[in-house]
Each structure stands twice: as C-alpha cells, then as structure tokens.
C-alpha cells in the first residue's frame, strides 16, 4: 500500500465514524503533544529514577542493586543538609519578596496614562531574558572589583562588597537577581487587578473607604486566588533554582549557593552517583508535594473565590 493509498484509507475510516467518536479522536490527537511530553520527559524518567534509587550506577559500569544504601547515605550527608538549608532560606526570602514586589509593580502599571504600554514592557522585559544571558549579566554587575553595583556603592561612599565571593552576601545577590525577574507574576497580577469590577471600588468609596481600606477590603480579597497561584508557583520555582547558581557561582563560595537541584546535578554528573542523585530527586519531589499540601491546606483555605461553584 503506497503512502497515498494509506492516507486515503485512513480518511475513509475517519469519515465512517460517528460525530461523537470523531470528536473524541480529534481530542486525543490535539492532546498528543502533551501526553507524549508527559510520558517521555516525566513519567519514564520518574520511573527510571525510582528504579535507580536502589542501584549504584556511575554511568560507566552497569547498575548494581544496593538495597537501601542510597537512602542511608542521605541520613549522613552534610552537603545535603547544607543544600536544604540554602534552598529553604532562598525560598523563604525570595518568594514573599518577589510577590510583594510584583504586586507593587502591577499596581503601578495598572494606571491609564500616556505611554503606560512602554512602562509595562520595560518591567516585563527582564522576565523574558534567557536564563543564561541573565546569569552572565548579573555576574558582571555583581563583580567585586569592577562591577557596576559596587561602582555605585563605592561612589556613594560605601564599602566594596564581595557579592559573589562572600558567603554572607551571595544569598542577597541571588535574591536580587531573582526578584529582578518577577515580570511574569507581575503580568498575572495586572490581569487580576484589571479583572476587579469598578463597582466594588465605587461602592466602597461611597461607604467612605480610603485608599488603604480599599486595598485591604476590596483589592486583596478579590486578588487572593491570584496571589495564591503566584505563591505556589513561586515556591516551586524557587526550589528549582539551578541555571543562575550553576553559571554564576557553581555552588560556591563555600557551598553557600549549593541549591538542592545543583547538588542533584553535581551528584549525578560530577560525582557520577546516579542512584543517590535519584534519591535526592525524589526527595525534592516529596518536599514540593508536602509543601504544596500545607500551602493548600492552610493558605488555600483563606482564599476568596467570587464564584466558588464554577
């Protein structure tokens, strides 16, 4: 059967189906890219990683079964503790700060005046700078001897800060460069702000509510689902910080930016311990699951949905 005959045959078969079946079939065809991506880039790797947790594999010789060895190693690993510490610290600082900053920017650009589109673009642009370019850019800005940031600080009479060399400052540097890229959350906040019907503000104003009261009693409740969404995504993203850490500091100085994903990567492809790296990957998964659970349970319950049934 030639290609032409084949496609004709397929068309005939398709035309014979009932409308309902055709729609179902088409539905599957449309979600195939997602399904394939899910299977090959998530499901298969996750299953393989689960298998590897019980193996020792250095990529060179075949994997061999070692039982709970990799899990026991986890209990006595100073670097794992260190990586969890810096990851949680980073997350705890950068996520709330990022939310506040994004919300603040969104409120600023939620105004109508000439040239507002330009401002919106300017604030959004950083979030579409490719991660690698972003990392290189900040590595230059933070350079101790010749970086622009230290240049300004010193011009104002401040000290020379070892942004990327001093373990006490490097976390601040990472928070700054992360918060700089909040354009994505900002746009989501902006969409939310614009979706709040004007009548609520008008009603509040008639009741005598000031700016602050309008923010507390109208804006924040109406925005709570969006704040919540940005919070969850923010936590997940912050736990997965990798590219900037790999490129700017590679975990240093003194492991003070050894974020969990970077440690997993190094364990797998530097130390060639695929089994242990698989255990750490599942640990990350478990942490994010548990964290999401608590966030949904204790914060999600406070979210106000205007139409809860929809």
């Amino acid at each position: 059967m030639s290609l032409v005959d084949g496609s004709l045959w397929l068309t005939q078969q398709y035309n014979r189906l009932s409308l309902k079946r055709r729609r179902t079939l088409m539905g599957y065809v449309f979600i195939t890219p997602f399904i394939l991506g899910f299977v090959f880039w998530f499901l298969v790797p996750a299953v393989v990683a689960a298998y590897l947790t019980l193996q020792r594999w250095n990529l060179i010789s075949p994997p061999r079964f070692v039982g709970m060895y990799n899990f026991n190693r986890m209990l006595n690993d100073p670097l794992l503790l260190q990586s969890l510490k810096v990851t949680v610290l980073f997350s705890a600082i950068s996520v709330p700060l990022g939310l506040v900053f994004a919300f603040f920017l969104a409120s600023l650009i939620n105004n109508k005046f000439r040239g507002i589109a330009v401002f919106r673009t300017i604030y959004f642009l950083p979030s579409i700078v490719p991660a690698v370019a972003n990392a290189i850019l900040w590595a230059w800005l933070f350079n101790t001897e010749f970086g622009l940031i230290n240049f300004v600080i010193r011009a104002l009479g401040g000290p020379k800060i070892g942004w990327l060399q001093d373990p006490n400052w490097v976390m601040v540097a990472f928070v700054i460069l992360t918060v700089w890229g909040v354009g994505g959350s900002m746009i989501i906040f902006l969409a939310g702000l614009q979706g709040i019907p004007k009548i609520y503000y008008e009603a509040a104003e008639i009741d005598g509510a000031g700016r602050w009261q309008r923010l507390l009693n109208v804006t924040l409740p109406m925005m709570s689902p969006i704040i919540f969404f940005n919070l969850v995504i923010g936590f997940i993203n912050s736990f997965q910080i990798f590219v900037s850490a790999l490129l700017i500091t590679n975990g240093g100085p003194q492991n003070s930016t050894l974020f969990l994903v970077l440690y997993i990567y190094r364990t797998a492809f530097g130390s060639q311990k695929m089994g242990y790296a698989a255990v750490l990957s599942w640990l990350l998964f478990a942490i994010l699951m548990i964290l999401s659970f608590f966030v949904f349970r204790y914060i999600g319950s406070r979210v106000y949905y205007e139409n809860p049934d929809e």
Partner: protein, 458 residues
C-alpha cells in the same frame, strides 16, 4: 498550473518515497573512500583547538586514506565530560577522545579506556626510550602501571610580567634559569615595591591606603588547584600523595597556601577575588593597562598574553621558590575507548596525535608546550618557537625548567566528587581570608573519605 488535491497527494507521496530511497543509499559506504574505516574523535575547545584538530585530520587522512576521522566537537570541557559520560552510558561513546586529566583515572579504572601499554611500548617511534619527557609522562599516564592514554601536551603555571613596570622600579624581572628564580622573601620584598596606592605609597609605607590601590604586584589565584599545587610542591608538600590521597593538610602544604592567601589579605600586594573568572578586567588586561606587574597564569595564556598582542613590553619567568622551584604540569589525554569496533584504526590516529605535527600546530600559537623530547632539541625548537608569541627566554621553560622542576599532576579516582564537595569550598574559604590551618584538616579528611571509598570501589 492547477493541481487537484489527489494529484498533490500523489506527488507528495512519490517524492517522500524518492527521498527515503536516497537516504538509504546515503547510508551505504561512499564510493570514493573505498572500504574506509570511519572512527569518531570527541573533544572540546575554542576556535584554535577546533581548527587544529581539523587540520590534523586532513594530514592524517592524506597519509591514511583508509581511515576517516569524524571530529565531534563541544565548546566547553566540563560540558564535554558530561556529554561523554552520557554517551558511554548510552553505548554511543566515540572511538577516540580527549579525556580530562580529572576524569582520566576514574575512567581508566572503570574499564572505559583501552589499555594501550603494549601498543606504546612496542611502537617503533613512541616506544623509544625518552621519546616523551620522563618521568613526567609515565607519572601521569600510568594507572596501576598501565597506560590508558597519552598526554596531549603539557601546560604549567609561570609568571607573565609587565616589563615596563619593572624598568620603572629598577627591578630585574625573573627568568627560568635556576639563578634567576626568586626566593620567597625576595619575591615578597619585590611585590611590596611593585604595589602602589594613588599617592604612590607602598604597602609598608605609613599612610598606605589599601582600598585605593592603583597598581598591584601580583595576581596568583587561590581558587583552583593548579596555581596552588605549584606553591605546595615548591614548599616541599604534595597535592596528592603516593597513596593517591589528598595531602593538603600537611604543614608544608598549608603554609604554602597560606602564603598565597596572605599576598591578598596580609601583604596587600595582590587584588582580591583574583581568579581569572571572577575579575571583570582579567589579568591580561590589567597587565596591559599597567595595573598589574605580574600575573601567575597557565602557559596556555601565552596564546593571548604574548608580545604581539600586548601594547606593553612583556616577559615571562619562573614562579618564586619556597623550598625548591616547582610548577605543576598537566593536560588532557588522548585515549581509545574500549567500546571501539576499530581498535587498529583508532590506534593509528592516537599515535598520529602523539607525533610532532599535531603538537607543533598548537605550540606555535603559544597554547601548548611539547611533551616530546625531539621537539626540545635545538632543531626541534625551530618547529614551534615563534618570535612575537614566545618571549626570548621562553624555550628555557620547556627545555630546562619543566623537565627539572615540573611536577606531573595526578588526580585519583573519586577526585571530581572530593574536589567539588570539599576541596573547592576549602579553596574558597582560603580565598575569603580564612586560615588554611582552620579549613584544610577537616576538608582533607572528608575528601579522603571519598577518595578511599572510590579506590576500594575500583
């Protein structure tokens, strides 16, 4: 011309079929190179390396028309390591490859690299006594007494200096001959003279402002192993000892490393954060701008820090000695992977890479220093020493200094993990001003646990 839908489909179908036929034909051996064996060669590097390998392949193929070498190039060396590991795991490793010196023993002990001991020893050229500079070549190539690769070249640290700043201060710069190498205290005194704040004061003058230094004496990185190891060996210590364990916790080693850190933190004659990567203005630019008198850097840097590319008069000399002169030598290896289906062709290619043609190509541009004795004779030097690239005394570095004082670096299995997790953080602590004696005992103990585990695991 209008085409009906059916005609269009027919046309598309038949052209797809024709394409499929063509691509199948492409998979057959090309008619021109009759029965040529194709082998792959993996490696990394910038434009210079890429061009050099391509040129070598051309010459090799002209001499060996029955072998096709396909060059698989990755720009970054660390990226290449990971690519190779995943290729090994997937069963698609290249036939021959660059192997990083830090991966070499791990891969050799893991059975990934082919044992080429007998091929080297029985070879009419490479097997000749002292074909390579010895004992350094054997020291790096042997893993449990067997060879799994041949060193590509040698690179080692030395001083690059701005001759005009030396003239100005009336100081004779260092050279490579034994009587031109400074003692450590002499070096410190000279560093003091060559460092100036904006008022022209030196670090030991009253009123010296260390926040306002306009000219530094030296830049000697403490953030990675090569420049540190040179000092450690010079002070009578060892980087890796005979048992294959890290020995940076010995008093000699810690003293040497502390001396380098003190250049920044105590003597104020070296800039902070002075690794090549972390400076916005690198050592070359600083030397060229007259802001740095001496840069300690690898010999490869001569390919961009040379007389023809710098605006100032420059020169090269040996590192100052603590107990004895020393510099650490290393470089990547060329190896055959044991999974190759064409060991004979692979060996011919590997052998070619260890002959003068290939090394000359890189030595001429200042990137490499030969590891073959024949290239260090008067006649041999003519093949690669170039005016404008190599300062006048440079050939002495290759012919006298390195064979006498060069220490071949050896990195044991498990080194990558030990380094990433414990040794590099210790270097960073040292760079940040912590005392070597406070940091290294603990770091080395932890690193050696990893190394012992890796050794027992082989």
């Amino acid at each position: 011309m209008s085409v009906s839908r059916r005609e269009f489909l027919k046309l598309a179908g038949s052209s797809a079929g024709a394409l499929a036929m063509l691509s199948r034909m492409g998979a057959l051996p090309p008619v021109l190179a009759q029965d040529a064996t194709t082998i792959t060669f993996g490696g990394w590097g910038g434009v210079a390396e890429d061009e050099g390998v391509k040129a070598a392949i051309e010459v090799f193929q002209a001499e060996n028309p029955d072998v096709n070498v396909v060059w698989q190039h990755t720009p970054s060396a660390s990226e290449y390591s990971r690519v190779t590991l995943t290729n090994i795991a997937a069963g698609t490793a290249p036939d021959t490859s660059f192997i990083r010196s830090d991966d070499y023993t791990t891969l050799a002990a893991g059975g990934v690299l082919q044992d080429i001991t007998d091929l080297v020893k029985n070879d009419s050229l490479l097997g000749q006594e002292n074909y390579f500079i010895e004992p350094q070549e054997s020291n790096r190539c042997e893993v449990n007494g067997r060879w799994y690769g041949i060193g590509s070249t040698w690179v080692a640290h030395h001083i690059y200096y701005n001759a005009e700043l030396f003239d100005e201060a009336g100081i004779t710069p260092p050279g490579f001959q034994d009587d031109e190498i400074w003692e450590w205290d002499e070096f410190l005194a000279i560093c003091n003279q060559l460092t100036k704040d904006s008022n022209g004061r030196h670090p030991d003058d009253a009123g010296f402002d260390r926040e306002d230094i306009v000219q530094w004496a030296v830049d000697w990185a403490t953030s990675w192993w090569m420049p540190l190891a040179a000092a450690v060996h010079s002070n009578g210590g060892e980087f890796i000892n005979e048992e294959g364990l890290c020995a940076l916790d010995s008093p000699e080693a810690m003293e040497a490393m502390q001396r380098l850190a003190d250049l920044v933190h105590v003597h104020h004659v070296a800039p902070r954060g002075a690794s090549i990567e972390s400076l916005g203005m690198n050592n070359t630019q600083m030397i060229n701008a007259g802001r740095l008198a001496m840069g300690v850097d690898g010999s490869w840097a001569l390919s961009w820090m040379n007389p023809s590319l710098l605006d100032v008069q420059m020169g090269t000399g040996a590192l100052p000695k603590m107990v004895k002169p020393a510099s650490l030598m290393q470089a990547h290896f060329h190896s055959i992977l044991s999974s190759t289906q064409h060991p004979e062709a692979a060996w011919r290619w590997l052998r070619f890479l260890a002959t003068p043609f290939y090394q000359e190509h890189f030595a001429k541009i200042g990137l490499w220093i030969p590891n073959q004795s024949s290239m260090l004779t008067e006649e041999g030097l003519k093949g690669w020493v170039r005016e404008g690239i190599h300062p006048e005394n440079y050939s002495q570095f290759a012919t006298d200094y390195l064979p006498k004082h060069g220490v071949a670096g050896y990195l044991p299995p498990g080194w990558i993990e030990a380094r990433n997790d414990f040794i590099t953080p210790a270097f960073e602590a040292l760079t940040n001003g912590e005392q070597a004696a406070d940091v290294f005992p603990n770091a080395v103990r932890q690193a050696n646990e990893v190394l012992m585990f890796a050794r027992d695991d082989m």
